[in-house]
Amino acid sequence: MFDSIIQNIFNALQWGSFYSLIALGYTLVYGVLRLINFAHGDIFMVGAYIAYFIAIFFFKGSPALSGTTTLALVIPLTMILTAVFGVTLERIAYRPLRRKGANRLYVVITALMCGLILENGNLAFLGASRKSFPELIDKVVYNFGMISMTNLKIGVILSSIIVYFILNTIISKTKIGMAMRGISYDKFAIPLMGIPIDTIIVVTFILGSSLAGLAGILFAMSYPILDPFMGAIIGWKAFIAAVVGGIGDIKGAFVGGFLLGIVEILVVAVFPSTFRDLIAFSILLMILVIKPTGLFGVAKSTKI
């Protein structure tokens, strides 16, 4: 009994890591731009596909590289390419709207529609056949009593925690992080202080998208079947996790992601798996009703 609880919590931590990594991206963009970047889940999907193509290129290419070398190449390349992708999206879809001073709602809708374009564009051009991600590293299973953990799971959990601490340092210690916090505090005073607002926004998108790319790699390695709609559901859920943590707050997104992961896995451990969404979302709604600003959020009263 005790073992199975520990085992489930361990699985939940792995599952929550994906939510956390994606929720961090949501919350970064939200904190700086006050924009719900609904396309973020699909940036995650794009990240997974980029990782897939890079992995296939090196792993199955003519001078086939070994699995570990491929992985060492896949991680930075995917993160860079996904970041480029996220910035491109910001450049062509969001920035013109921001320049025009359009209502925030229009940007949200643009984001939602960009997400749909990415999902269905992928489905239309790459076809409905699911891609299976090559196995890059050998699976090692460690057994501690009844608890078994694989090296991949530990890697996923560790990398999400490390990423969180790096991100936290960037936000709280560096000048760029200070500028990001400044923009979220007062968007109009910041340009007067000589801070290039567009550069900071680009940096935000680079950070958020590369995290989504990393989540994409880790997800593709853990669940090696890719399909175009994988980002949609996880993205929506990560968004809810970010809100429960208090959107706009890094710590909130991190904790919220793990919370959602834990709730989902524990629900599945007790109830039939079809109840997962039902109970997980009910609990999250309950949290929002009790604490409307989320766990770490600060109340602000503006309408979207």
């Binding site: 949200v108 809708i109 239309a124 079809t274 979302f281």
Partner: protein, 358 residues
């Protein structure tokens, strides 16, 4: 005279379509499209109450539609047909004709109650949190129906065609077409009456400035509740119609993608414009159906001029790329949608001479 021009035009179109359908001058496919246009008009115009007139951002309209669809279908199947789950009909099947609107309204009421349940937690929360709550509600409702095994669970629920056949046994005319026309007109009329009434103007006041509205003695909490209830109730009616048009419902046909469709229609038409919603619903439905033919045609054309490799074909999924793309372009160049927050008569002032729809 002005007062009657819109109802007269509507009745002319409705009767014309029904007669044409009865004498099989238009085929079933066209009839279905016309019925879906009706359903989409109800969906977009009811969603416009929250997202347009009230200016909030809710994104779970399909959940309420699901409640309406399931409640109406269950009631009709239980009372008027013999079914595996519910046994023999409780009432005589001939009565289906008379009780159909009643069940439809009960479905609407059930959806409205669900709407209230969703709206209550949203009072305490603000701005983007409403989006979350409605989104989560949509997930919860769909998941709830997936878990109800007596209703077919994820396999879906059917038997609504029998209700239709029961109605057609009494009088053989295209009943579904008639009901769709009736309910579409009623819903549009109700919404128009509601938002132009003194009471309903409170909703628009909330959009403009919530605090000012409260000072001007608009009970904002109650107004939000009423708006939510009204909107979700009408979505329930749309769901009931949808279920009976298809004759089969599946929890996954009410997922977040359906809600996104509603969002597209509202913002395509313009926030806070009833005629915009109607135009957008018609355009949207027709566009989807037209793309069904345009995409294969474009495919053959592109293969004719060898632009794309032979193995690659343009798939039907492409329409879900084209429609969001249209909306993205729209947001860049005309973010207020087709009509903005104006009605048709504000757009073409000369039309005011000919019609008045209040």
């Amino acid at each position: 005279m002005k007062k009657f021009s819109v109802p007269a035009l509507f009745i002319f179109i409705a009767v014309g379509t029904v007669v044409a359908a009865h004498f099989e001058m238009i085929d079933l496919y066209v009839q279905t499209i016309i019925m879906f246009i009706g359903v989409n008009i109800i969906l977009s115009s009811s969603f416009n109450i929250i997202n347009g007139y009230m200016g909030e951002f809710a994104c779970g309209h399909a959940g309420f539609m699901a409640v309406g669809a399931y409640v109406t279908s269950i009631l009709n199947v239980m009372f008027f047909t013999s079914n595996k789950t519910f046994g023999d009909p409780i009432l005589s099947p001939e009565l289906a004709l008379w009780f159909f609107p009643v069940t439809m309204i009960i479905g609407g009421i059930a959806a409205a109650i669900t709407g209230v349940l969703v709206a209550i937690p949203s009072f305490k929360t603000r701005d983007d949190y409403l989006a979350i709550i409605t989104l989560a509600a949509n997930f919860i409702i769909v998941s709830l129906f997936i878990n109800m095994d007596t209703l077919g669970g994820p396999r879906g629920f059917m038997g609504m065609k029998q209700v239709l056949f029961a109605m057609e046994d009494v009088v053989f005319i295209p009943w579904m077409l008639i009901w769709t026309f009736t309910f579409t007109y009623l819903v549009v009329f109700l919404i128009r009456r509601f938002v132009s009434s003194t009471y309903g103007k409170g909703i628009i006041a909330i959009h403009q400035d919530e605090i000012a509205a409260e000072i001007m003695s608009v009970n904002t909490d109650k107004m939000k509740l009423v708006a939510f209830m009204f909107s979700s109730g009408l979505a329930g009616i749309a769901g009931g119609l949808f279920a009976h048009i298809l004759g089969y419902i599946n929890p996954n046909s009410f997922n977040i993608l359906k809600s996104t469709e509603c969002l597209v229609m509202v913002y395509l038409g313009g926030m806070g414009s009833l005629s915009g919603s109607i135009i957008a619903a018609i355009l949207f439905t027709l566009l989807i159906e037209m793309l069904r033919f345009i995409i294969p045609a474009a495919d053959t054309l592109l293969h004719f001029i060898p632009l794309i490799p032979d193995t690659f074909h343009l798939s039907q999924v492409l329409k879900w790329v084209i429609i969001p793309f249209i909306l993205v372009i729209l947001m860049q160049f005309r973010p207020e949608g087709i009509m903005g927050n104006r009605e048709l008569s504000d757009f073409f002032p000369k039309l005011k001479k000919y019609y008045e729809f209040k």
